[in-house]
């Protein structure tokens, strides 16, 4: 992926910054400037809490180029407490067993690096088992 695209996406990637619809109050992620629920214009920034639960998941053993170091890993659909569902890697599982409905929280982690050790490091959201009581 080219550097300019990473740069444009950094706010949503680093901190789950999406949008809130001024017409129907829906929370939108990823940001798309148009509300998918009511069709109105929605450009107001909204920072998601990062809390959610596992909606579905799968173990990845055959992984795309650039992700070999971390294989095998678990990809999940995470339903955020504000509504939207995002696709993300689960991390810091240790020996913890993943199940649907498991509460998770967002952390910012290294996703991968471009061009081995010479390219930029791409950071973004992952989810881990919730630590906060």
């Amino acid at each position: 992926m080219e550097v300019p695209r990473h740069w444009r996406l950094k706010k949503q990637r680093y901190a789950l910054v999406g949008e809130v619809c001024p017409h129907c109050s829906s929370k939108i992620f990823p940001p798309r400037d148009v509300c998918p629920y009511c069709g109105g214009e929605a450009k107001t920034q909204f920072s998601f809490s990062g809390r959610g639960q596992v909606y579905s998941f799968t173990q990845m053993t055959n992984v795309p180029t650039g992700y070999e170091q971390s294989a095998p890993y678990t990809m999940a659909l995470v339903q955020l407490e504000e509504g939207p569902v995002v696709t993300a890697q689960l991390t810091d599982l240790g020996e913890q067993h993943v199940e649907i409905g498991m509460p998770v929280e967002m952390v910012t982690r290294k996703i991968r690096t471009d061009m081995d050790d010479r390219g930029i490091i791409i950071y973004g959201y992952k989810f881990r088992p919730v630590m906060q009581a």
């Binding site: 950094k10 706010k11 680093y14 901190a15 920072s47 070999e68 170091q69 971390s70 991390t91 810091d92 240790g94 020996e95 952390v107 910012t108 982690r109 290294k110 996703i111 490091i121 950071y123 992952k126 630590m131 906060q132």
Partner: protein, 360 residues
């Protein structure tokens, strides 16, 4: 001749009093027992190991990601708009980029940018307190309302070297503010710095070199006792005036011995002594001890912190906890929460997580 520190105005004190508004720690999940390193390199001889186990970062963690989490914890306690933070300064010897500041990425992730000073500080294991002292000046001069100072490392030792037992990952973040808002007031700081070649790493080298036994007396003990002793002399205090003391902790024994040299008892240093269970977190080592103390301290408690960085130098800080600690400290994960989250790994997994296996 020795300076008369009692009358010489050597203490660093900002014009406006400064304190800690919010603080946060981070320790990664994985632990490598020292017995695992000994199993591989010493034929299983587990005698006299420097610590019990050390914290190891996951393959997707580095000084930037760990700084982001510690800073988010500090922000939860501070409960301010991140835009009011006017500096993001990170002390580390393991910045992921040789050229490109860690602080720009951390600032963006926590929502401080773009109107910030951002910079990465280097001074071996005291880079974190160096950033804190700078932040105290930045806030205390009135230039900035708040400043964020971080000490964080993912330290590595050469396989089989003595440092491999202890070189660990973790650290802490502090938001400095005017003292009247703070959970702890920083009464003064005092530093002691000399040119001492006890430990170093040249460019392009993966692992540091150290001056073997030279790292002890002329480096660690000399600098910490000079800074600590003269701080107390100038503050007109003795060890008995402090409820807690915390020192740089490269292993278990050094901080215990230096505490004794300065007149502190186990009762005073035990809360902040984390190296036995997380290892030496380098720029994070003294200050993550401070976060563990702040998690427990009562209003009015006084704390003496003395860091040490090879090369060499020490920063001493005299700190008093305020009433606000009680309402703020439960707003984020505590240092011991991270220490309790623990998955033990073996040497093979450790090697893989540290990215030292060549994939092609």
């Amino acid at each position: 001749m020795m300076n008369d520190y009692a009358t010489d105005p050597i203490l660093l004190k900002p014009r406006n009093p400064v304190g800690i508004l919010g603080y946060g720690a981070y320790v990664p999940r994985y632990r490598l027992p020292a017995t695992e390193v000994a199993r591989l390199w010493k034929g299983g001889d587990g005698e006299g190991l420097p610590i019990k186990e050390k914290a190891v970062p996951g393959f997707d963690e580095d000084t930037i990601t760990m700084s982001i989490e510690a800073s988010r914890n500090a922000l939860k306690r501070a409960a301010i708009d991140p835009k009011d933070i006017r500096a993001v300064w990170i002390g580390s010897e393991s910045h992921p980029y040789a050229v490109k500041p860690s602080s720009t990425i951390v600032g963006e992730a926590i929502g401080c940018s773009p109107h910030i000073q951002a910079g990465d500080w280097e001074f071996a294991c005291k880079a974190g307190t160096e950033a804190m002292v700078a932040a105290i000046g930045f806030v205390g001069s009135g230039m900035a309302k708040y400043a964020l100072a971080i000490g964080m490392d993912t330290a590595q030792g050469r396989p089989g070297d003595a440092l491999e037992y202890t070189a660990a990952a973790g650290g802490a973040a502090f938001i400095l503010s005017p003292a009247e808002e703070a959970v702890a007031t920083i009464n003064a700081t005092f530093s002691y710095v000399t040119d001492t070649p006890d430990f170093w790493r040249r460019p392009q080298q993966n692992y540091p070199e150290h001056g073997q036994r030279f790292t002890g007396d002329p480096a660690y003990f000399k600098h910490i006792t000079e800074a600590g002793k003269h701080m107390m002399q100038a503050m007109n205090t003795t060890a008995a005036d402090y409820k807690y003391a915390v020192f740089h902790q490269p292993n278990t024994k050094f901080p215990q011995r230096v505490a004794g040299l300065l007149g502190f008892s186990k009762e005073q240093y035990k809360t902040g002594l984390l190296s036995p269970v997380i290892g030496n977190t380098y720029a994070g080592a003294a200050i993550i001890g401070l976060t563990a103390i702040l998690d427990e301290a009562e209003p009015g408690d006084r704390i003496l912190l003395v860091s040490f960085g090879s090369g060499a130098g020490s920063d001493a800080m005299d700190i008093t906890v305020t009433d606000r600690i009680l309402e703020r400290r439960d707003k984020a994960l505590k240092t011991q929460d991270y220490i309790a989250r623990r998955t033990e790994i073996d040497y093979a997994t450790y090697t893989r997580m540290r990215g030292t296996l060549t994939m092609r």
